[in-house]
Symmetry: D2
Subunit: 302 residues, 4 copies
């Protein structure tokens, strides 16, 4: 594993810093581009890492996975009456599609879908952002994980696009709570600050049939675990999901903070991070690292 990480590191180093750090909110734009880390968490609990794998970063859309898993525990299949399971074929914040499909978002990993999931969690938890934070603390075994309030507030100040989506869904009766309240909680989830090691640990249950070693708990059933992985495989990388499947071939989820998580079912979970993004908003060096990884192990899920 350590030599695999060294090979990946060597492959990817020339790409680190290429691309563009997310700049739609000031708080994110200040992150130093020249950073790169990977962490692997094997199903027997070992951690392997290289580079900036312990530097906390803004997990952003990776939080959609935790949000979904939390909702699945409470709602089960009822989720799929309010959110679809199909790739969107359009940018992650498309209004046209949401209008055409009458307020039912295509999947839980585009923004509209994540907002519906947040709305469902809002109906279950007094303070959903605390619930999600406590959940990832337990999953990662790291009690010091924080929400970056400056990031969360800044995202709220730039909420227009997400507010438009939430109100559109509300107009189709697919959104129950107050828009502003749900957005506040949603942005807090996005503003969770975690390292590659934290994330690799947190998601290991998805590589391990739903069982979390750290929590010694079955977080999801094996079948639900396959479902979450299937959703990540078809819809986890915005409008690049197909190309990611083609190049990398693993279920994964990216965030505009530069993180990407991926699952090697039955073996290990992985998290890469490098803040500079490609044109569709995925970590440029991060995606390349995962491509290098599957090339070196000569294996993908397909």
């Amino acid at each position: 594993m350590d030599s695999l990480l060294s090979q990946i590191y060597a492959d990817v180093l020339p790409l680190v810093g290429q691309g563009k750090v997310a700049d739609y909110i000031p708080a994110l734009s200040k992150v130093e581009a020249n950073q790169f880390g990977i962490a692997i968490c094997s199903n027997d609990g070992e951690i392997f890492s290289i580079g900036d794998a312990d530097v906390p970063f803004s997990i952003q859309s990776i939080s959609k996975v935790f949000n979904l898993v939390l909702a699945m525990e409470y709602y089960g299949d009822a989720i799929w009456e309010k959110v679809g399971r199909e790739p969107s074929g359009l940018p992650f914040n498309s209004m046209a599609q949401l209008e055409y499909e009458q307020g039912i978002p295509r999947n839980p990993f585009i923004n509209a879908g994540a907002l519906v999931i947040s709305d469902m969690n809002q109906s279950k938890f007094a303070t959903p952002n605390i619930a999600v934070r406590e959940f990832v603390k337990k999953l990662s075994g790291n009690p010091s994980i924080q929400i970056d309030r400056i990031v969360a507030d800044s995202e709220y100040d730039h909420r227009s696009r997400n507010a438009a989506m939430a109100y559109l869904m509300k107009s189709f009766n697919n959104f129950d709570n107050e828009v502003e309240k749900v957005l506040r909680n949603y942005f807090c989830n996005c503003a969770l600050t975690m390292s590659c090691v934290d994330l690799a640990k947190s998601i290991n249950f998805l590589a391990n049939k739903g069982y979390s070693q750290l929590m010694d708990t079955q977080v999801l059933t094996p079948n639900e675990t396959r479902q979450v992985n299937a959703l990540m495989a078809t819809s986890g990388l915005y409008d690049e999901a197909g190309s990611f499947a083609f190049r990398v071939g693993l279920p994964g989820k990216s965030g505009v903070g530069g993180g990407i998580i991926a699952i090697v079912p039955g073996r290990f979970s992985v998290c890469v991070w490098s803040p500079a993004l490609n044109s569709v908003g995925n970590s440029l060096a991060g995606a390349a690292a995962l491509e290098s990884m599957t090339k070196h192990i000569g294996w993908s899920v397909y």
Copy 2:
């Protein structure tokens, strides 16, 4: 394996005949709905089957896989300058998306994408429909596979929608040959008549890192094989690809003739057939059979 097939058969029997046989051309609408078959071809060459697994049927869009594999052999990565690799998020014959994306179809498994691949094969082969037919004869080891000319002619007579897509791509300079000629060949490929057993054999190389036992040939490299499987996994079932990944979790490709092929990488290939379709055009009992299969084996790629 035989007991697996019996279990699936029992699970699915109540669904056989539910749905609606494709009726956009008269030749297809006459097929008896109450038929169902499965064939499995293991990577060591054994065949297992049940039901109407030897009855030949119109493979329709399953031919897009053979068409693509043939083109990959000649064009390699140049294919992806003319066709995308992303799920479409829209019906298989959407014009709006094709217009918006300036004549570059989203992937090779929607009609527009398959037409571009056919156009590429037209530039390489004197009679591409014969080339494809000979290819599947070799892959399946069945020299008697035929093109149903009545079906092919009937599809040509109802070509308007496909002609519209081809001309639209031509207007964006993404289509080189004469539209009518390419359509003729394309419809001949769709009109190939094969059984579940033929198809399971023909695609076994996709479960076997690109190696065909029957032909004793490396049809594709292992990496290309994973690429084709990834494309099937994200885009193989029209606008139901995500839901198929969620329920079944295998790379697959369907056709309106009622066939669905699927790949269990490293182990076996499978073909199910039942002519009655669900609302998005996939075999209703066929998809249920594959879902039953992954439930019984407790495994999917995810």
Copy 3:
């Protein structure tokens, strides 16, 4: 004129009550469908009317005309940097078009356009809804015109769709003020309660080269007047503007309260009202009355 009105009345009577009273908010749905009135205000100030021409009704989108005229006085051509002048070719509340055209609404008479105009007025007036109310009081010479607060509040409670549009425009930097505040004022304008006679008087300046007799003021220049009429002619009746031009041939503006105003340039202004609407949201009997009118006078602007 009186005999013209009698003829129209006879023509239209069988249609009164056909269609469906607006029911998206409770306050509007209670209006008795079987009402019908017309008032004509000639350029020399005479009023002719028949039926329920003195019954006040909710003017709804007709207020968009007053809103626009007010903004034109302050902003002049700067308006057209934020709003287009083209018919929309889509329903009045389309999000897809607004997204595609990056937050610039097609014209000031679809909802998104009227919201931008309201946003501009918000930047000029402390309480824009009072400014518009005072404006129509002067234009109509009726100091008792009121805003129906029950209607305004009910519309605010059902604001999701309009809020989604406003936030979407805000995300494209085409909306300056707080969304909720602008919506409040916008709904107050829609909730103005006026009769056919009030409205025919209020808009007479549009038939009279911009000169209001009642106010003895040039409200708009002759050129601006032609511009407002041109906008009404191409975009005044939602997605039925072309058909209204074809059948009626006069600049006009409708509201879901069942009112339609129309202009016979150089001669007179007219307002019809009948609450039951056709499928695109225009007064069924009202549009028929205007069609009857242009047939009887054998004249349209075309």
Copy 4:
């Protein structure tokens, strides 16, 4: 009138040659940009002209008016079952809208609508392009009007986009004849070569309640005439119809050859020509000339 034309000429001269001559087919791209002409035909038959008013040019989409008038004579209101009467709000050759509205084009002046009208004329006339040519010969009193076969053939060679639209409508059963045959005739109509004087004379009946002095015939009823003018007013200038109404305020129809016809109902017809086009495909100097004209006469239909 002569002094009006001189004023317009002076206003517009600085703009002549600005913009870009149509270059989608070689035959049109060779036209010298620096040309400009206007001709007015008054309702009492007098002709006034200035500049290159006698130079024949390719009338292109202006032919859609003649095509429609011919079809109206044979089909009456049945036309409107196959074509709408609404502005499109999208470019003249949009496929997305045509798909969304199931093969019913928005109006007879976008390409798809004109193709449906051509298809209807194909069902009535042995050689529709000859029928249209003979019609304009009579309307203009000029027996030497020709179809430019080089232009017509070149357009046919570049037919892909129009073929795509025709086939799409055929797939919705809104197109009866063979696509290629209809396109041939359609392009012949577009390739008619006429001067400003020819066109001003030909369309004078639209300014004269349907009565053609030259033919001494009632070509259309007064009501039908108003209908054609209404359609031109709302849909005659592609995706600039609203802006043209706003700036000019007359029913008009443009062509990519650089011609624009316009109607001053009850008074006169006018044709301007200047080959260089603005970004949406209308003659830049031509539109400016008509704007100058309505400014000088201080009158528009609105």
